[in-house]
Symmetry: C2
Subunit: 495 residues, 2 copies
């Protein structure tokens, strides 16, 4: 064996690790310093360890993403525990096939998804939910049960928002963070009442209970008139995050049927409660504060926010049709903020001495996947990438910030061979992306766009910052509730 | 914020890290010690950090896999670089859906796959291959191109074994390791001539060139009679790994058409070359040495080794049929060694002062997936788990051993809702596994068992031991060639 070259590397690396550890001890003496815990200033950034392909991908070594041994860089990326801020970014229905499809199309197979592919520490988590009747695992979760898992640490049945299998409310990270004096934010591209944003602020037995009307019908035990905490929208207003951005304005026209705001619309209630309401990107950009006196409610669409890219629905025999390029969605105008901009604004508004917890969701990766619409799906994954970049940009400056990025469940889309001779039973579509050759996408769980199904595979979770090592290996979807509240040093019982 | 509990943890952890780093410096003074590099004796094992669900999965916190912050444990699992031995374990066509399906069925949704789920460091890699005509990325690789990627560091076209897009041979890790004086092994449940085992020992332009007969037809430029290096089997015999275990005996009846062994069968050639030939588990178990004087050739079936579990093929409308349990395959008898036993025997035979490189493949996870056979697929994933356990058991004792576990490409199987009302266009099957409720599996890329397709998603890669941190984050399938040969300290040019 020729060890010489490697031995030299060893010494350099081990030296760096010793320095890093001494740096840690020194740091401990002054624990709580505002610059935050971190093993080693510059290298601890731990970002950009793996890169895009380094050369001609047809040449020996041209496709590699590592240019040198990354042992030290990964060790450096494991920072001290204890975070001041946590930003949790969710790609709804965004697992390995969805990430790869977006990379292949937008950045090329050898390219790098900005933000997402730069996160230094990576793992997978199990996402199963619970069958309400049998109390046994349900192997394919929905967004309500999965979100309840990380938001509250409790597995539940599909459709449940913030309640356990018995319908009992479980406190969320956002609620606990607020009770502990942190600022909080909840940002999404979907309706604010949709499952993923709702799990942080509401507790209802059925996810469709958006307003008083649906709540009376679908989860009467949660209705205000029956002594419950009210609909998702009413509970959102009561939960009072400092920043809430998304869609779902239609429900705010409903009228409360009981309680202090009885007879008022939910819009009027929001104003009565002191919310600053913004309805466009310009109004959002003009905001300069968000706190418990003046919380912000940004609602930018009646329903879900429009997707940034236009639909290109897969069809039976789609691999026999010409490949297409994705196009901008004309319904997405400058009046609607993009997810990256919402994330940047939310971070600006939330940043404060006591720290913050922010959840951000790119929700329509899932919805486009249900629709067998690869362009919609990729566009919303591009939005996800922008949001992660916004979070990482902040965390690189404020090193006491933990950024976690994951999907809530796997989904139906699969990258397959673009071979017209292969008879595919589902819906397929050919796209022409960055590299120039056709990319074939298969939706094989339904023949009806809109009815494609979630799938049950474990999902990638990645992180940067103090405590990020908790995502490594195999964990469960309920683990983040515990390590996020632990990293933030929250008293989970504090009211 | 209530930080007290966390602060206490911080001090303990940081202290441990300082000790670990000092340990590293001390180790460097005596570099090359036989006990191998490792940050910290006991905790550096880094195995069993994440666990099975810790309680009643319907209760708050009952499904979590982490019992405490794992930052220090992950830091400890990052060991010094430089390995004496490398064991690379491949699950063919084994990505997140396949791993989760096997866990759900065999160990329960909250359970742990032995070996695989215990690997402390995890990431994903991109698997795209190259279109031979356009020289652009092919988004869905086959096993030949993917194996060539990690074995040689060169991306190539689907079907190519150990050659680049121009058909030019690329040296493999196994060949380089042997040239550097290490022992080498190549173990599989498939035919020895199948793509994954072949990429370490052969260089042919078409993967079907098993023997002289196919080579004359399908890749004549590789035929001995045309001045080539011969068929895959002939090149395997010339490559002379110390240990070769698998199937594919049928090809050994073919006769060489040129060269030194012209007119002899490949079986006779193996004997002439000094190979010890074993044909059963008993004969394998009786082996007590394997080296360049007496290399071992274990061939336990005419074709692929039988799968350990019997077929249960998915069918149209399978979600409407009763759920079944998987059964043992009666064709799998005690005469055939299991993959875990082959792995243990190979390690026993290869372990030596200079170190070894061993590749192990559970090859029929892929083949059962093509067949839309979830039971076959799960059984072979159980075999994969056994092989990883065997590798980890050795590595925990011989800490200078790097174990890497991955799949070569994603595949078709998806876990879906067991709902008979959902019209699924592909082939489906209901299974009753460990938890007791039905698990639904969908094969949505063909209606013909045997013709289900690979898919293009990035694939999980996990590792334990020195250099294991190189799998973390997003890497490419060609990266392992470089970091494995680097960790082993090999001169890649040595002949």
């Amino acid at each position: 064996m020729v060890q010489n070259r490697l031995e030299t590397k060893k010494i350099r690396r081990a030296g760096a690790l010793t320095v890093a550890a001494i740096g840690l001890s020194a740091l401990l003496a002054g624990c709580g310093s505002d610059s935050g815990p971190g093993v080693d200033g510059d290298t601890a950034a731990g970002v950009d360890i793996s890169r895009a392909a380094t050369g001609d991908v047809t040449a020996h070594g041209g496709a590699r993403r590592l240019t040198e041994d990354q042992t030290q860089a990964i060790a450096d990326s494991i920072q001290q525990t204890g975070a001041k801020n946590v930003i949790l970014v969710i790609g709804d229905g965004t697992a390995n096939q969805e990430l790869t499809l977006a990379r292949d199309y937008q950045w090329g197979a050898g390219g790098q998804i900005p933000g997402i592919d730069q996160l230094p520490l990576t793992g997978d988590y199990t996402t199963y939910s619970i069958n309400k009747d049998t109390r046994k695992p349900d192997y394919t979760t929905d967004s309500a049960a999965s979100g309840t898992g990380w938001a509250t640490g409790t597995k539940t049945y599909n459709g449940a928002v913030g309640v356990d299998v018995n319908g009992k409310p479980q406190r969320s990270i956002l609620e606990i963070a607020r009770a502990n004096g942190l600022r909080t934010g909840d940002v999404t591209t979907t309706e604010l009442q949709d499952a993923t944003p709702a799990v942080q602020v509401a507790h209802v037995t059925q996810r469709k209970c958006y307003g008083p009307k649906e709540t009376a019908e679908k989860c009467p035990e949660n209705a205000l008139e029956n002594g419950g905490a009210g609909s998702i929208t009413e509970q959102l207003l009561a939960a009072r995050p400092d920043v809430t951005f998304g869609g779902g304005w239609a429900t705010f026209a409903q009228t409360a049927t009981a309680g202090e705001y009885r007879g008022q619309t939910l819009e009027a209630q929001a104003k009565s409660r002191g919310y600053q309401i913004v309805r466009s990107a310009d109004e959002m950009n003009a905001l300069d504060e968000a706190n418990q006196d003046k919380p912000v409610l940004g609602v930018f669409a009646d329903g879900n926010l429009p997707r940034i890219w236009d639909k290109a629905t897969a069809v039976p025999g789609g691999v026999k049709q010409p490949a297409v390029k994705c196009a901008d969605n004309p319904a997405f105008t400058a009046a609607t903020p993009k997810l990256g901009d919402m994330t940047r604004k939310a971070i600006d508004l939330l940043d404060n001495d006591k720290g913050f917890f922010l959840q951000v969701e790119s929700g329509s990766v899932d919805k486009a996947n249900h629709d067998a619409d690869p362009c919609g799906q990729i566009g919303e994954t591009v939005q996800l990438s922008d949001a992660v970049t916004a979070a990482l940009d902040f965390a690189k400056k404020q090193k006491d910030t933990l950024v976690i990025v994951t999907g809530d469940h796997a989904h139906t889309s699969q990258i397959v061979e673009p071979d017209p001779e292969l008879p595919m039973p589902g819906l397929t579509k050919l796209l022409i992306g960055r590299d120039g050759d056709p990319i074939a996408v298969n939706y094989g769980t339904s023949l009806v766009p809109g009815e494609e199904q979630h799938t049950g595979g474990q999902v990638r979770i990645a992180a940067y910052g103090p405590g990020a090592a908790n995502v490594v290996g195999l964990t469960d979807q309920t683990d983040p509730f515990f390590y996020i509240t632990d990293q933030l040093g929250l008293d989970r019982e504090k009211k």
